[in-house]
Amino acid sequence: MFLAEYQAKELLAQYGVSTPSGGLARTGSEAEAQARELKCEKYAVKAQIRAGGRGEAGGVKIAASPRAVRNDTEAMLGTVLATEQTGPKGERVELVYIEAAVDLSVSRYLALLVDERSAQPVLLGSVESGVEFERKAYADPNILETLPLPSDFDTSKVDLSDFLARLDLPAGAAGSVATLIKAMARAARETDAMLIEINPLAIVGGVEAVAVDAKMVIDGNALYRHPEFESFAREISVDEAEKVARENEINFVQLDGDIGVVVNGAGLGLATNDMIIDAGGAPANFMDIRTTARSFHIAKGVQLLLDDPKVRVILVNAHGGGMTVCDTIAEGVSFAYSRANRKPPIVFRAAGQNAAWARTIMKERRLPFETCDDMSSAINRAIELAREQG
């Protein structure tokens, strides 16, 4: 779960991380009122989207007066920011954060992430920072300083001094940065964070470390032990179809094509979409029916495809394994079709456990389907049907 900047800052502040004072606004007048309360010389107007790359996409403006804050906010709200991390569809700005602008003349990059390759938390830092940072680090990884942390995030077991020295901090700032690092580590451990990134970290007045921007990613698998994030999760807008799917034991990603795909397993789902696109077709979605899904869950997933007017054909690619068997998938498809107004043709490919039984179910329920034995022929047939329907 990706926390918006204001959520990450609110959380980090509870651990003692210094952040600029600020507040949220949903309208221009709210923004102006927030700015008047701040009483500072310059203000930052920041779009609250759940993805990085915001600065380069125009999601951060510096304003000189509360009136200018209002204008910038009004111009920003409702726009769609497309960054490298949101993908081409972008994310709509519905909320802005107004804060006192901080002097960034001395700033650094700081992050703590769970490194999957080494299976360790790693502290990252750099003398470079700001919106260009990721590009610079990609071009030259040497600008990045790293320090592995113990698996329990206990910073008292490691010596930070060398890491701090490599950040080339002003003489009086090391203590403040060290305190902030310890706070980050505590926050990460207690919230099941996968990433806490502070970019830029401003060194104000040569001594105080201030988190000017903050990004946090919380492990979705650990949310069961964090009821405190329930309100955050509600505030975050998620694609409706993806949400329904998730509640029904299905991993689902909305795409733009006309072939609705019903597949069990992430790997098989990726392989199916690769083959569709290679053959000149366009999948409407990615689907991974989890092993815990029952037929009524699967029916909900199929219904999402039937509700999508772009979908002209349904391709079922089921490989019955030890956990999900083909007939469960056929039952799910059949439930969804029995309630649907629109019944696009189905190409049904089933292999593995209970494949023959699944085909019998499809036949007995009189579903508009045809079968194919292998993936390639099923995919080619689905593409043909989608074209005929178009």
Binding site: A51, E116, G267, L268, A271
Partner: protein, 291 residues
Amino acid sequence: MTVLINQSTRVLVQGMTGRAGTFYTDLAMRYGSDYVAGVRPGKGGAKHIGLPVFDSVREATEETGANASLILAPAHNAGAAMIEAIEAEVDVAVCVTERVPVHDMLRVKAALSGAPTVLIGPNSQGVLAPGSCKIGVMSTADAKPGSIGIVSRSASLTSEIVAQTSAAGLGQSRTIGVGGDPIHGLGFRRCLELFKDDPETKGVVLIGEIGGGEEEDAADYLASVTYDKPVVALMVGRHAPPQRRMGHAGTLAVFRPASVEEKAKRLADAGVLIAPHADAVAQQMATALKN
């Protein structure tokens, strides 16, 4: 020399008394695997589907000589269950559980360091020696004893390739699911090492995907040794939109991960045959074995 398990592997099950535990233990025993005990804290002394139940893994290993564990514990207990198996020094621990919190896996990996146990998973369908031993939840319907080692991050695609290699008359020596989670035990590289030394295995199929670093490690290894068996790789997720979590391993966008094409190129440079699509794998392997 056998790869991880064989017909004399004695298996205990952590989480055997639950619905899933009962179902999969029964299936594995019907397949002919040697399951000897279940572990369920608080239920020690009981019997379940004909097997003795113990309070702890250590008790179970001491009493029954079990040397492998199948972990079917729920996600919130799975980390502790893996650590218990590692501390009891079973040879092989297979964790099927999905959605184990990442921080729990950090602790599991710390416990694994220097330990004799090989951890497979979590989020793995398990390891299968067709015809002799099944530790996991995979389908065995299409599996046949044979010469192909399959290592994969995906259960569904493994089933697909098992069916293909059986239909092509090749069969499988072992199928290993390393698991779909970003942090896991056994990786592709070690599997390739095990298959290299295994006389039963004549060729290896590697099923890779977007995210993670398994394929890069495998490529580095293959480039560093003389690998005298054909390796065919199926790489999926070529057309997955960037930055969306579609495959198994979620990759954070802080630093750009290698694309599927980059991974495939690294593997190809190390001598691996890249399958053009999922239907072509067994045929490509059969051709490579003839040459």
